[in-house]
């Protein structure tokens, strides 16, 4: 649903500071210290929560040649950032750490030309991993595979991975990174140590933004908007065009207009969204983004209605929320949340957007 922003490391290298997830970091570091590593891990959580960050930090801690000594009471990974291994991992050049993902697959397939169309990790890629993994590490004590986009494996590929995941060669470690563990087979999950990354507390995201030089007010807004996904907050912060905040403002504006307007206007808007959807690519994604933002908005309405405004996502728009709440009934909010969710899943499963959105606007969106 959210565009994959894990692989976009343009805003901050994956090896920079890790925001939140101290519990996971602590657990992994102590498994390094006590030499009780598993051979397979799953890091899962919504996009932007920091799975790849965690994986890269873990790998650096694994491979660092001169880790700083342990300090009692200090959680988190220990690595120096300056040794050869750390530097090479940072530059993504370390021979014993392979990041497998859709890019890697496309590179390996080379000139076949079909790379653009592939949205899944294929069984041949898994076989290639099986082959690669049997080679002993050359520098580091470990041969590590970070498998991005593990959730895109189709059943055939996933099954092909099972035996390797269960009993890989000695000194190999596989880290699967997945948007959600729903897409992974239970048989895969059961072979791995699973780290389901949880939402990072809003305060931690806010602090991280402040640390990077954000003004207090936008930091607060962004942190709330990110719903516990530091990746989102960071991207929005580094993106000088403020795309995400603008998206939000636009979505809210449209919603306000729609609430007031009559059927004709609503149909017209649904038609516009329909054309956006049909034109694919980014414009299609913008429809999904809008629905998501609306979902967040109605959730805020629910929270405000029940006097829980402090947990709302759109902290900077509490006034607007309050005005709308005064004119809404709880049953309407509930229904809108349900219908929005439904419209999303309908769009996901290829229902005509004209029907899904038209239904939403004409039959369900209350008129204020």
């Amino acid at each position: 649903m959210w565009e994959d922003i894990d692989s976009e490391d343009s805003f901050e290298p994956l090896t920079d500071a890790l925001i939140g997830h101290e519990w996971a970091a602590g657990l992994l570091q102590s498994s390094i210290d006590s030499q009780k590593l598993s051979h397979a891990y799953v890091f899962s959580g919504p996009a932007g929560i920091g799975k790849s960050y965690l994986a890269h930090h873990f790998v650096m801690a694994l491979c660092c040649e001169t880790p700083p000594p342990r300090v009692e009471g200090q959680l988190g990974f220990r690595f120096c950032r300056t040794c050869r291994a750390c530097r090479m991992i940072r530059e993504d050049k370390f021979p014993d750490v392979t990041v497998v993902g859709l890019d890697w697959q496309a590179r390996m397939e080379g000139s076949t030309g079909s790379s653009g169309a592939n949205a899944n990790l294929k069984i041949d890629t898994i076989r290639a991993i099986q082959l690669e993994i049997s080679r002993a590490p050359s520098e580091a004590p470990w041969r590590v595979f970070i498998v991005e986009d593990a959730a895109t494996m189709q059943p055939a590929a996933a099954n092909a991975f099972l035996k390797t995941l269960e009993e890989p060669p000695a000194r190999a470690i596989i880290i699967l990174i997945s948007d959600s563990d729903r897409a992974l087979l239970p048989t895969i999950i059961s072979r791995c140590q699973v780290f389901e990354l949880r939402s990072v507390p809003t305060a931690a995201v806010e602090a991280a933004l402040l640390e990077r030089g954000a003004e207090p007010q936008p930091a607060r807004t962004l942190a709330a908007l990110s719903v516990g996904r530091p990746g989102f907050a960071l991207r929005a912060f580094y993106d000088k065009t403020h795309q995400d905040v603008n998206d939000r403002d636009e979505a809210v504006m449209h919603l306000e207009d729609l609430l007031k307007s009559d059927r004709a206007a609503r149909l017209a808007f649904s038609e516009e969204l329909n054309s956006r959807w049909m034109s694919q690519g980014e414009r299609r994604a913008s429809v999904l983004t809008m629905l998501n933002l609306w979902l967040g908005w109605w959730r805020d309405l629910l929270l405000v209605y029940n006097g829980q405004a402090r947990y709302a996502t759109n902290q900077d728009k509490l006034d607007t929320l309050q005005t709308q709440v005064d004119r809404l009934q709880l049953s309407q909010i509930k229904e809108m949340l349900q219908w929005l969710t439904r419209a999303q899943s309908e769009l996901d499963s290829n229902v005509s957007p004209r029907l899904a959105l038209g239904d939403l606007f004409i039959n369900h969106l209350p008129r204020l």
């Binding site: 076989r127 000695a170 029940n306 909010i333």
Partner: protein
């Protein structure tokens, strides 16, 4: 080894390698200790956990020398399929003179298999070698005698991933393999295997492993590994594993690291993000009390504290389930595995809640798990479930016996809500919702008050707190919403159908009724026959049932008013004005035969209860 000819990666070679099972008994070399589930793979039938029926059968087969040539092991993950396969391979090759103790795990054959150096144990990963070429290769090689052991054992793991063609190519070999060959197919998805393959094998279905047995095994392993562990902690781990020993051992592994070698209940909870029972039972408390703001706040507090909502929800469902079991069978033994503290909380709550309500909650919250995984707003599905559970507070009223007296004080307020104008909330609750005018001679005044009183009646059975909370939750607001008549009409067949699910009799009666008008949230039902009319007019319970089903289907609270057709003609004029005060039961509607009426009621009551 075959060479790959069509792979996308040139030079890649993955023929039919004998992927050696990583050594299971050698102690770790290098700087990694092996994960527990590999280290503690069962090495003898005695160690195999939780599959007594299967081990007994196999042992007897070994003892009597009647092993089949092909076995199919199916069952959920982590129940011991691959382990049993290797055990069987050991057993048929074991050199111990007494067949009853095979596999002995001491002889050379057993050791070589355990240490994964037996050339004649061929473990095939069917998921990555799934084509017809691999099967042909297998067919070519199977005719060679075993090199060292007595039998050549093929363990084909994840066999469900083989292609159709591969399966078919295997059929003849599988049916009549050379005498020295033994096939063991293992899979988690037996339904994907062609019937022709299944019928050539002896099939064994592995069961999920019981909680107790997992705990025992965990205890044993902790003892061997010299790790102190609390039994409760291991129980929590075992419960989390849902019958899969490998899951349990993976968790235990993680836990050993996490807790620094001393496994306590607190450590388990911290690591799993399992809240203490308090959080769950507090939430369930809010649920029962209908406290939506409180519930929402709890959810968001949990999120801020970084709790794992999926686990929270799972625990919540478990808690509600306990509540349900306790309600359904107070003396039942199903709950024995709960801790006393949790038990106490469940018992307290069970006094405040109706069984139907718990079932309703369970239905809603047990569906949340999937949504929690896919939603972009982590907690939203849970919040929506909370709202759904509390908004149309359906179901409960059905169970509640009408207690007219208790409801009296509530009645006036309800009346005001429904028809604000024109009517003083007069203490003698003379409101009849039928639009029929006048006819003050009413046979059963208490009954007349019933329509307004229904809701409160139901609530009076529950804790007193619920009524006001529901008001906050917006019920009173939604009662003011004008119902759209078309909507009512459209949903009527569905309402009847839904009632049908609960009581055939009422549904049959309803077939003679139809909604003819609605005003505010009042829906008028017209009846053609007096008998049917009276069934609803005089019986609060029946009306409540319709209202509940209505509420469920159109998502709004409605109030049913009954109307006998004959009267509609005269009453229709009045229906517009709100001067509805007066009895519906003019003239003919008065039940003249009190006995019959009572008998019918009695009949109803029996039916419903």
């Amino acid at each position: 080894m075959t060479t790959d000819s069509n792979g996308a990666f040139p030079g890649l070679d993955w023929g039919l390698p004998i992927e050696p099972p990583a050594s299971t008994s050698t102690r770790p070399n290098g700087n990694r200790s092996q994960t527990l589930y590999r280290k503690w793979r069962s090495q003898t039938f005695n160690e195999l956990v939780g599959q007594e029926a299967i081990t007994r059968t196999l042992r007897n087969a070994i003892a009597s020398g009647r092993t089949s040539h092909a076995y199919l092991f199916c069952g959920p993950r982590g129940t011991g399929k691959t382990s049993t396969g290797r055990l069987l391979a050991k057993a048929v090759n074991c050199l111990d003179p007494d067949p009853k103790v095979r596999p002995c795990d001491k002889c050379e054959a057993c050791r070589s298999i355990a240490e994964a150096r037996a050339l004649d144990l061929i473990e095939i990963d069917a998921a990555s070698n799934r084509g017809i070429d691999e099967v042909r290769e297998l067919r070519d090689k199977i005719n060679f005698q075993p090199s060292y052991l007595k039998k050549k054992v093929y363990i084909i793991d994840e066999v469900h991933m083989m292609t159709e063609a591969a399966f078919n190519a295997l059929l003849k070999t599988l049916e009549e393999p050379p005498p020295h060959a033994l096939f063991i197919l293992a899979t988690t998805d037996p339904q994907d295997i062609p019937a022709t393959v299944v019928s050539r094998c002896q099939r064994f279905d592995f069961q999920r492993i019981g909680l107790e047995q997992i705990v025992k095994r965990l205890e044993f392993i902790c003892g061997e590994e010299k790790i102190p562990a609390q039994v409760e902690a291991l129980e929590t781990v075992a419960r989390q594993a849902t019958g899969s020993l490998r899951d349990a051992l993976s968790l235990l592994d993680q836990l050993i690291v996490y807790s620094g070698g001393n496994i306590t209940l607190d450590a388990v909870r911290l690591m799993l993000g399992v809240m203490n029972i308090e959080a769950v039972s507090d939430f369930s408390e809010a649920l029962i009390a209908g406290d939506m703001p409180g519930g929402l706040e709890q959810i968001n507090r949990l999120v801020q504290a970084g709790t794992d909502l999926k686990r929270f929800n799972r625990d919540l469902v478990e808690h509600l389930r306990a509540l349900m079991l306790l309600k359904a069978n107070p003396s039942g033994k199903e709950l024995l595995d709960m801790t006393t503290e949790a038990m106490e909380r469940v018992q307290v709550q069970s006094k405040k809640v109706e069984l139907a309500q718990v079932v309703y909650f369970l239905k809603i919250f047990s569906g949340v798990d999937y949504n929690l995984k896919v939603s972009p707003y982590g907690q939203l599905p849970l919040e929506m479930a909370l709202m759904e559970a509390l908004l149309p507070p359906a179901v409960t009223q059905v169970q509640a016996a009408p207690v007219v007296q208790a409801a009296q004080p509530q009645a006036p307020r309800q009346m005001q809500n429904v028809t604000p104008p024109a009517r003083p909330a007069a203490p003698p609750p003379v409101a009849s919702w039928s639009p029929v005018a006048a006819a003050p001679s009413r046979p059963a005044p208490a009954r007349e008050a019933a329509p307004e009183a229904e809701r409160p009646q139901a609530q009076s059975v529950q804790p007193a707190t619920e009524a006001p909370v529901e008001e906050e939750a917006g019920l009173s607001d939604s009662e003011l919403v004008e119902l759209v008549f078309e909507l009512v009409q459209q949903s009527w067949p569905r309402v009847v159908k839904s009632v049908d699910g609960q009581s055939k009799m009422i549904a049959a009666l309803l077939k003679e009724a139809r909604p003819t008008a609605c005003r505010g949230s009042n829906v008028m039902l017209s009846f053609d026959y007096e008998f049917h009319y009276k069934q609803f007019k005089d019986n609060v319970r029946n009306r409540t049932m319709i209202e509940d089903h209505f509420a469920k289907i159109i998502g709004q609270k409605v109030i049913i008013k009954c109307l006998f057709d004959k009267e509609q003609a005269e009453g229709g004029k009045d229906s517009g004005s709100s001067s509805g005060s007066g009895s519906a039961s003019s003239g003919g509607a008065v039940p003249d035969d009190e006995k019959t009426r009572k008998a019918l009621e009695l009949f109803n009551a029996r039916l419903l209860d």
